[in-house]
């Protein structure tokens, strides 16, 4: 699915990622954990194609394609999804309209016809119910005056409607209370299957109680310093980043 080799990234001359390797296969859930400033969010932006970042070295293969050559929207339409840490507000654009536009952009890219209005309404309704999102909220402008938890649920709704092949969750747990965390996690778990993959970026082990990863990686100073299974997350919780990084 995703193969990152020897990735080096800088922003405005400052090196952020310094030789990162990561391989994610179909059907796997990987967790990426690390302290502030270790390069977690940078990795999610580089994967999704945000400009300003300079790729100094390395390759990223995504399902046989050179990911770095694709535009942001091409990556998205090829099934790469980023659940944002800070979802953007778009005033004047109804949430449901935005969802429909996103779905139809993908269908257009894939050479399919637009989704029929009734089919869309049904899909949106059932997905929204799973996440405990009210239909009233879908009529509001996208993310405008949403609470932190509502914004994160909205991200997961978009994800479940677009059913990506490779989903990156960038600190989706931040700002969530325990109930919202559970609902969001259940939403993610429902989407898991043998064909798609997840990269879950987080500070805390808490989220991983709900979304059980197959692999856990610890990133420090722009590199993965340690990889393991779920037990690594528990060990990290106990010892903290500093000790783990040193022993690595």
């Amino acid at each position: 699915m995703l193969e990152i080799k020897n990735l080096h990234v800088s922003i405005e001359e400052k090196k952020i990622i310094k030789g990162l390797d990561l391989s994610i296969n179909k059907g796997e859930v990987h967790a990426l954990m690390g302290p502030n400033g270790s390069g977690k969010s940078t990795l999610s932006y580089v994967l999704s194609g945000k400009d300003k970042y300079e790729i100094n070295d390395g390759t990223i293969d995504y399902n046989g394609k050179n990911l770095l050559e694709l535009d942001v929207d091409e990556r998205a339409n090829e099934g790469l999804f980023l659940a944002f840490q800070y979802p953007m507000e778009i005033p004047g654009v109804q949430t449901s309209f935005f969802l429909k536009t996103a779905i139809n952009s993908k269908r257009k890219y894939l050479g399919q016809s637009e989704m029929d209005a009734l089919e869309f309404a049904k899909l949106m309704k059932s997905k929204a119910e799973e996440l405990n999102i009210s239909t009233e909220m879908l009529k509001r402008d996208l993310n405008v005056n949403y609470s932190g938890g509502e914004k994160k649920k909205q991200e997961i709704l978009q994800m479940s409607m677009l059913s990506p092949k490779m989903a990156i969750l960038d600190e989706t747990d931040s700002g969530l209370d325990i109930d919202a965390l559970r609902i969001v996690s259940e939403g993610v778990n429902k989407l898991r299957n043998s064909d798609n993959s997840f990269l879950v970026i987080t500070h805390y082990q808490r989220l991983l109680n709900y979304i059980k990863p197959d692999f856990v990686h610890i990133i420090a100073d722009g590199k993965i310093v340690k990889s393991g299974d779920y037990s690594l997350a528990l060990e990290l919780e106990e010892k903290g980043y500093e000790e783990i990084s040193q022993t690595a």
Partner: protein, 485 residues
């Protein structure tokens, strides 16, 4: 414009068989010289077979034009206009000069037609290709005409109204925009060629949007358009002007006059989408659009509402205004003005409060991209007798890129202490993170800009009649193409 005129005449002739343009067969023979003088005005009037009083009115307007000073422009960079170097009567191009097929039309224009979903036949007509097919809209037009005349509604060209309803034209023409108002108003009065005339009788609510046929009809406007709409007591009308398709047009200067009159309890809703040729990216060519639009809420409880989406023209200069004379009358102005590349727009409104309890609302959205300049200029004037008058103004500007400009120039004059005037203004830049977010959801950069800008304009676009709104949304996106990335 000229090239389309003949086609439109054919269409009109089919719709209304007793409408005769006296010269339509010998069209190539008529070549009045360039320049502006009494002879030309007499020529225009004679071509239109006008009554004596109309000619006198025109000649008087010409005298006024000669005395008035030429306007001094604020904020607009306009080359001086040589009035003697213009033709004042459009002559349809002869058939052999017209493009033979769409292959001869600028591919950029064709691309836009395609994006707007304009049918092929209509594309040909808009491009000025001689088309002999009968348009679907002709039959629609005929059906409407019958329905409208049963209600006593008069909807025809102003030239026709001069002959068929002289009492109404005499009474109202120039009553909202006096000939002496300013130089362009006088010029238009002297040489106007055609435009629409609408009269809605007392108590009648016009059942259709007066326009729909009228992607075609609206094009028959010419360089000096003159429109007059009168809504008698307790009546209602919604009129749509303009065309979302870019028009091939040989005229550089457009100076239209539009007058609206609403009597007691009457309501007029006037919507415009203007997408004339804006010139190329370097600012070469393009239409100068200097329009005077003014509505008089003459009766009690009357209401006039202007909605405009301005995306075309090299220079747009217009301030659709309301004179709130009747007690409790209401004026509204909803505007989206988009300027890209080298375009300039200076637009806004004037709300003149005269009667008691009059109220006005102004929502203006200006969007600038490229090296364009966009100015909102508005006047809210509350006279001493306008007790308890109210105004709310909101002006928002959105900038795309760092070479464009947005300016807000509100004038507020209040001569009594019972009135209340509110003004809110914001300026923002299109946010790169918003664009990235939309693109990460699969929208390409142009669709993303279109989505965000349409969101920004929503408060205005929602006042457009449904079908028009859909086209306007597409247009908003199209006119900003190439502005990002």
């Amino acid at each position: 414009m000229a090239a389309t005129e003949q086609t439109i005449k054919q269409v009109n002739t089919l719709g209304n068989s007793d409408y005769k343009y006296g010269f339509s067969t010998d069209v190539d023979e008529i070549r009045p010289p360039k320049g502006l003088n009494e002879e030309i005005i007499k020529f225009i009037s004679a071509q239109k077979d006008e009554p004596e009083w109309m000619l006198e009115w025109r000649l008087n307007a010409f005298k006024v034009f000669n005395k008035l000073p030429k306007p001094q422009w604020a904020k607009l960079n306009i080359p001086e206009i040589d009035y003697q170097d213009c033709y004042y009567y459009s002559i349809p191009k002869s058939l052999k000069d017209k493009p033979k097929s769409l292959d001869e039309i600028d591919p950029e224009i064709l691309k836009t037609y395609e994006k707007l979903g304009i049918p092929l036949k209509e594309q040909k007509m808009l491009s000025g290709i001689a088309v002999d097919a009968v348009f679907d809209s002709v039959s629609v037009a005929t059906t409407y005409k019958k329905q409208l005349s049963d209600l006593g509604i008069v909807f025809c060209s102003i030239s026709e109204a001069v002959k068929t309803h002289p009492e109404l034209v005499k009474k109202y023409l120039g009553s909202v925009i006096p000939v002496s108002d300013h130089s362009f108003a006088a010029l238009n009065s002297a040489v106007f060629t055609d435009g629409s005339f609408i009269y809605i009788p007392e108590g009648v609510k016009c059942p259709v949007e007066l326009s729909t046929y009228f992607r075609i009809n609206a094009m028959n406007t010419g360089q000096f358009e003159r429109t007059l709409i009168i809504a008698d007591k307790d009546s209602y009308v919604s009129y749509l002007e303009g065309c979302t398709a870019p028009m091939r047009d040989e005229n550089q200067l457009h100076a239209a006059n539009v007058e609206l009159v609403a009597l007691d309890n009457a309501e007029i809703k006037y919507s415009t989408v203007q997408n004339w040729y804006p010139g190329d990216k370097e600012g070469k060519g393009g239409i100068y659009n200097f329009v005077t639009k003014r509505g008089a809420c003459r009766g009690k409880n009357s209401k006039i509402s202007w909605t405009q989406v301005e995306t075309g023209s090299a220079i747009t200069w217009k301030y659709p205004s309301c004179i709130l004379q009747g007690d409790n009358s209401k004026g509204e102005f909803y505007s989206v003005a988009i300027t890209n590349n080298m375009q300039q727009a200076d637009t806004g409104t004037k709300m003149i409060h005269i009667g008691k309890n009059t109220s006005s609302k102004i929502i203006s959205k200006g969007i600038s991209a490229g090296k364009a300049n966009n100015t909102y200029r508005g006047l809210v004037n509350i006279l001493s007798k306008a007790k308890n008058a109210r105004n709310f103004t909101q002006c928002d500007s959105l900038l795309i890129g760092n070479q464009c400009g947005a300016h807000t120039v509100p004038y507020i004059e209040s001569s009594n202490s019972d009135s209340m005037v509110e003004h809110e203004a914001t300026t923002s830049k299109i946010n790169e993170d918003q664009l990235f977010y939309c693109q990460q959801r699969g929208l390409n950069s142009e669709d993303a800009v279109g989505l965000i800008v349409n969101g920004f304009c929503k408060e205005v676009l929602q006042h457009l009649p449904m079908e028009f709104a859909v086209e306007a949304q597409k247009l908003v996106a199209i006119s900003l193409e190439g502005s990002v990335g």
